[in-house]
């Protein structure tokens, strides 16, 4: 207590009285026997306080001395709510027979009106969705994943069928990696044939991945858009590099013409994401565009992805129309982190848990930042992410009694 304050206290009749009695806040504690119940302790000064006020206290406009409360002081909680002028567009993936495609069902994502899972403001329109990754050729995969797909990885359609049936996923991605000019350089027609095979093998909505070469991808996507007419497949991805290479217009037009969806990929840069979207708007309906803002693995830049997604979503909700698109995260990238797959010694085993956990946590982090669609790989990671999404969708299931006494709970012998 500063000198000035002490003086103030001496001035007021009440404080002075309490001080004389040895009952001001600090001293009281030292004096009292802790065996006494707290209520008895507190009643004394507050009783004295009211008596003192009646007789001596002048109405001085100073902070009243602290009188320990004897009951809980009510202070109800009202959540701070925000108005969001913007809303994320809804995008429908896939098309059923009656809609001109051949999918068993369609999936709608987006539509957010608040930051992710702010259920106290609004219930999310659509739960985020997971698409499982498959490839059209043998690719180097971490052991934890390889063992899951080894039997089917030379037959894309069989791989697709297994993923959909065994892992119960809602969507599927076919990465046409063999089209890479530096790998097998398969022609667009052959890639399109693979897509047709997968369309026949499974009836979930599809994402079609390219090889990363802007010119080749544009050719392949143009052909795929044509053969998958009306299926509303998502072409992953269209980029500003395609624009620089002069091929963006052609492939975007083809997507627009054949009713496909496009994924606009940019590298952790919202200005470029907006620039790409402006270019896409010329050829593709706004409701057919999804953004990929780049997904880095946990431990390998996930914080950059987390923050760019939070920023994008907040700007979109606050009215930036060019960012009001659902977002996709290539969560399989989690396996790029060495901690997901590398032998690190006995203290960090088993890797069979560490790897899938890594992918799961990468997904959950971006889930909280607003991601609507995940590309994933490991069945355990997919299952657990699905479970978490389900849990986050509804409120009011907390059971306070169950944890009220957690402090005293012992451990079961396991």
């Amino acid at each position: 207590m500063g000198e000035e304050e002490k003086e103030k206290k001496a001035d007021t009749g009440l404080a002075g009285l309490l001080e004389v009695l040895g009952l001001d806040g600090e001293k009281e504690v030292e004096l009292e026997d802790v065996e006494l119940s707290a209520n008895e302790l507190i009643l004394l000064p507050s009783f004295l306080a009211s008596a003192a006020l009646k007789t001596v206290a002048p109405p001085v406009p100073r902070a009243p001395p602290k009188v320990k409360p004897s009951t809980i002081l009510e202070a109800s909680f009202t959540p701070f709510l925000q108005e969001y002028p913007g809303q994320i567009r809804e995008v429908k993936l896939g098309a059923t027979k009656s809609e001109g495609g051949s999918r068993g069902k369609t999936i709608t994502i987006g539509g957010a009106t608040t930051p992710a899972f702010y259920l106290f403001e609004n219930t999310p329109r659509h739960p985020p969705v997971i698409a499982v990754d498959t490839f059209d050729m043998k690719v180097p995969l971490p052991k934890a994943i390889r063992t899951q797909v080894e039997e089917v990885w030379e037959d894309t359609a069989a791989w697709a069928k297994m993923a959909v049936e065994k892992w119960e996923v809602d969507m599927l991605t076919v990465h046409l990696l063999s089209t890479d000019p530096l790998i097998e350089d398969k022609p667009p027609a052959e890639a399109a044939k693979t897509v047709e095979e997968v369309l026949q093998a499974v009836d979930v909505p599809l994402i079609i991945g390219g090889c990363g070469d802007p010119k080749k991808d544009a050719e392949v996507f143009t052909k795929v858009a044509e053969v998958a007419e009306g299926e509303k497949v998502l072409l992953s991805s269209l980029t500003l590099d395609m624009d620089e290479a002069g091929v963006l217009e052609g492939v975007a037009k083809a997507a627009g013409k054949h009713g496909q969806l496009v994924l606009g990929f940019t590298a952790l840069d919202l200005n470029r994401a907006k620039e790409l979207n402006r270019k896409l708007y010329e050829y593709v309906p706004e409701g057919n565009i999804i953004m990929d803002l780049t997904t880095a693995a946990l431990g390998y830049g996930l914080e950059y992805s987390f923050t760019i997604h939070e920023r994008a979503r907040m700007s979109a909700l606050m009215g930036d129309k060019e960012l009001q698109h659902p977002v996709l995260a290539g969560t399989t990238n989690a396996w790029a982190a060495r901690e997901a797959w590398m032998k690190l010694g006995p203290d960090w085993e088993p890797r069979s848990l560490r790897g899938p956990l890594w992918e799961t946590l990468t997904a959950l982090t971006l889930l909280l930042a607003g991601v609507d669609l995940f590309m994933m790989m490991h069945p355990d990671a997919i299952r657990n992410t699905k479970k978490t999404i389900h849990r986050l969708m509804t409120r009011g299931n907390a059971k306070p009694d169950k944890i009220a006494n957690w402090v005293m709970q012992g451990y079961r012998r396991i």
Binding site: K68, L73, E74, G301, E303, N333, L361, K402
Partner: protein, 493 residues
């Protein structure tokens, strides 16, 4: 208008506002060139107010108080423990990471119970000393930094004062880590507090039933106090008001961590509390939040692995959604590795660029026969490679190619790293004038560019340069060099 309402948010606080309150004598005692530059650093939280000696003088008392007020964080900073063994929690300035750097990384506490033996009596039995030592000895080197665990939470499962006191004494004897004492019976809590009077532990917790006794203990032992109001934010706020009125000023809030189906309520409660404090100017909720992923362990029949998974999810989710302290149980490496890494990551400065300067870096004292390697300028890629090279020791050149801050795998796929750009980077680095050999080691992830790159090197005026495909991960560089360096052809020539 409350003080909190007039306090400007970090974004609005300008260096001018701060400058006007400083002595403005440009005395340079703080080490800055002038008061304006010190003000700018204060606003950016790069320096502390107390680094200005004149402001602490009597004549600036009022200005000092005002500055303390406008610079104080919306979430109060609370210290648990004492002196060099203390951990600071809270001190947050913002709700979202992109608004400003998060301060004081979430403190990770691990439990022991007062019914655990000191040492295991049979294999796999959990024991106090073993667990404490495990917490203390945990370390993981991540891009050159040691990640560690922070605290011990001692729980009274016996609910017996003497048993708790003895357990707390034993813990205090073997560790100087900051402590959380967990008991809901004030008599038990006091027995524990007596055992560590000089350690300033965090008291867990005051509830609607024991609050006044716990408040007395917090005052008497001068300890921060947790308010536990599971899924009842009215009660949480009311108890906060009551405690402040009572004179307990260092509070930590627990709205309850509900596992399983309660996840959504947990996340929403944490979010609402923190948002009210940061955006709604709610002083009563401007305190650190404590999460208890440990709750997954109770009342379920799942396997140990399954429960540890669930605990890792909760820890990660609550680290993203505003927890300032977490109480956990699993000490498994595979659980704590992602937990500690995410903790480290989310507390880094969001303004830190994703890219490092593309240039020629040297390690050790490389000479004309030292290996020349190439990587991308994505910060995490670069720091990983850098940390590995430092770990191996030895002398190397490392060419950092400009991939616009994209990692090797993505840069190759997205054509940010091509044969042309590699050749360009090699030429620009001037490495050809520094070495006698003509070998470039490229990342294993860029293997398919190797042939083309040799052609491109020729066409930019570096004939005879050969490409060696390196390991897919930089941890394999040492082995690669053992096997392939110096290159055999070189010896034959």
């Amino acid at each position: 208008m409350t003080e909190r309402e007039i306090k400007k948010t970090v974004k609005k606080l300008s260096p001018i506002d701060v400058y006007m309150l400083l002595p403005r004598t440009n005395c340079k005692e703080c080490g800055e060139v002038n008061c304006m530059s010190f003000a700018a650093k204060l606003v950016n939280r790069e320096v502390s107010l107390e680094e200005c000696p004149p402001i602490l003088k009597k004549e600036h008392e009022n200005a000092y108080r005002k500055l303390q007020e406008i610079l104080s964080p919306v979430i109060k900073e609370i210290t648990i423990g004492t002196e060099e063994h203390a951990v600071k929690i809270g001190g947050k300035l913002v709700l979202y990471r992109h608004e400003f750097t998060y301060h004081n990384p979430v403190a990770l506490a691990f439990d022991v119970t007062d019914e655990m033996p000191l040492h295991p009596r049979f294999s796999e039995e959990e024991a106090i000393v073993d667990r404490v030592k495990k917490v203390e000895n945990f370390v993981y080197n991540y891009i050159g930094r040691d990640l560690k665990l922070d605290m011990i939470a001692v729980r009274s499962t016996s609910n017996d004062p003497a048993t708790f006191k003895s357990a707390v004494e034993n813990v205090a004897k073997v560790t100087s880590l900051p402590l959380i004492l967990c008991a809901l019976d004030p008599n038990v809590m006091e027995a524990g507090l007596i055992a560590v009077q000089d350690r300033r532990p965090l008291i867990y917790a005051a509830t609607k039933d024991n609050w006044s006794n716990m408040a007395e203990l917090a005052l008497m032992y001068d300890c921060p106090l947790t308010i536990f109001a599971p899924n009842d934010l009215d009660l949480l706020r009311s108890l906060s008001k009551t405690m402040i009125e009572y004179g307990v000023e260092d509070l930590v809030l627990d709205p309850g961590t509900f596992p399983d189906e309660g996840l959504s309520d947990t996340v929403n409660n944490f979010t609402m509390v923190r948002r009210n404090a940061c955006k709604g100017g709610d002083d009563l909720l401007g305190f650190p939040l404590i999460g208890a992923p440990i709750t997954v362990w109770f009342g379920k029949e799942d396997s140990k692995e399954m429960l540890a998974w669930e605990e890792a999810f909760l820890a990660s989710i609550l680290t993203s959604r505003y927890a300032d302290v977490l109480i956990m149980h699993s000490l498994d490496g595979w659980v704590q590795l992602p937990t500690t890494i995410w903790k480290f990551n989310i507390y880094t400065d969001p303004r830190k660029p994703v890219a490092v300067e593309p240039e020629l870096k040297t390690f050790g004292k490389p000479d004309e026969m030292s290996p020349v390697m190439l990587t991308t300028n994505y910060a995490l890629t670069y720091f990983t490679v850098e940390s590995d090279l430092k770990k191996f020791g030895g002398n190397y050149y490392l060419i950092v190619a400009d991939t616009e801050g994209i990692s090797v795998e993505s840069a190759v796929a997205g054509r940010y790293l091509t044969a042309e750009s590699i050749a360009e980077a090699v030429k620009k680095s001037g490495i050809a004038e520094k070495t006698k050999h003509k070998y470039l080691i490229i990342p294993g992830m860029a293997a398919r560019l190797s042939g083309e790159t040799e052609d491109e090197l020729k066409s930019v005026g570096l004939p005879g340069w050969r490409v060696i495909v390196g390991s897919r991960d930089s941890s394999g560089i040492a082995k690669l060099l053992d096997e392939k360096w110096p290159p055999k052809e070189e010896e034959e020539e």
